[in-house]
Symmetry: C2
Subunit: 204 residues, 2 copies
Amino acid sequence: MIKFYDAALSGNCHKVRMLLSMLQIPHEVVPISLPNMDHKTPAHIARNPLGTVPVIEDGDVVIYDSQAILVYLAAKHGGDQKDNLWLPGEPSEQALVQQWLSFAVNEIWNGPALARAFLLFDRDVDLARCQAAGKAALSILEGRLRQHDWLALDHPTIADIACYPYSALAEAGEISLAPYEAVRAWFKRIEALPGYVSMPGLGD
Amino acid sequence: MIKFYDAALSGNCHKVRMLLSMLQIPHEVVPISLPNMDHKTPAHIARNPLGTVPVIEDGDVVIYDSQAILVYLAAKHGGDQKDNLWLPGEPSEQALVQQWLSFAVNEIWNGPALARAFLLFDRDVDLARCQAAGKAALSILEGRLRQHDWLALDHPTIADIACYPYSALAEAGEISLAPYEAVRAWFKRIEALPGYVSMPGLGD
């Protein structure tokens, strides 16, 4: 069974929680306490040299980075490559999903996620820079979502899962979501998907 | 034919140049001048709301983000999903490639790439932070490459292409490569691949 190293307040872990639930994948949660620095122990560094969560182990397969874990779970459990809606195998569709996975990794992480980490966890970052980057990222999302229901394609994919948690948690980084009406409507669509699970700060 | 919007000194564009050459994909280069702000014109923002390069257009398909373009080119031209060495379709292999694509997007971009951008292009970033992040990223690469020839799998993939240019250009950000012997040996392996192309600051 998949072992999932999961820290409760991590939005990156929440991406994995959401897809595990939506695809109904059996798994065992191994709680990681960030205040206790469980993620910096030698045992965890052996799993993931970056010393971050989430990590999954599935037999001999060990994967870190939340986007990589979404790829793994969707590729293995989301249907075969021809009709895998979460991660399609057709080149242009796969690339459009990647475009938004990269957006989650850079623009969203270095924007709303790190602004929140500064305010909640005293992370050593420049708050004003993160907030400015966060507003820029939300504006890009807003531009896309004014014209489309989902980020990469005309249905939900792992791109939506990857971009959702830290965007929806932006106000924990003191970035107002008020100007981003289409983004807020997209949050509601995600929160209505079968198997959606919440975490503190997100919609029910 | 693929149109490739390419800025000469961009390491992100260089990833695309390398794979186009290695896979011998016919394409037309559309030069983008960053000093002239060609990447911020309305025409370019219509292609890519982030206002960055590279971008490719292939008929109706428009893709930005260098990792997404690598996914597109590898998925379309790298062989079918069962024997595509550049981007394998097997879930754990695909996920391991993604793990290092994410590393290119965050750790390498926000480390050596932005340190170089500060020194070469006056980009508004905190140089000391970027240099520290760059050293941390190079140490992670070194740890992997002391034990393995390639980043994701036992052969080159788009993960190697994505992580190579800005790592190999680290000294332009005043980050010494001297401590990273395995990383330097990996540069030589990449530079020996059929179809490798160079750019100013990289090996021949």
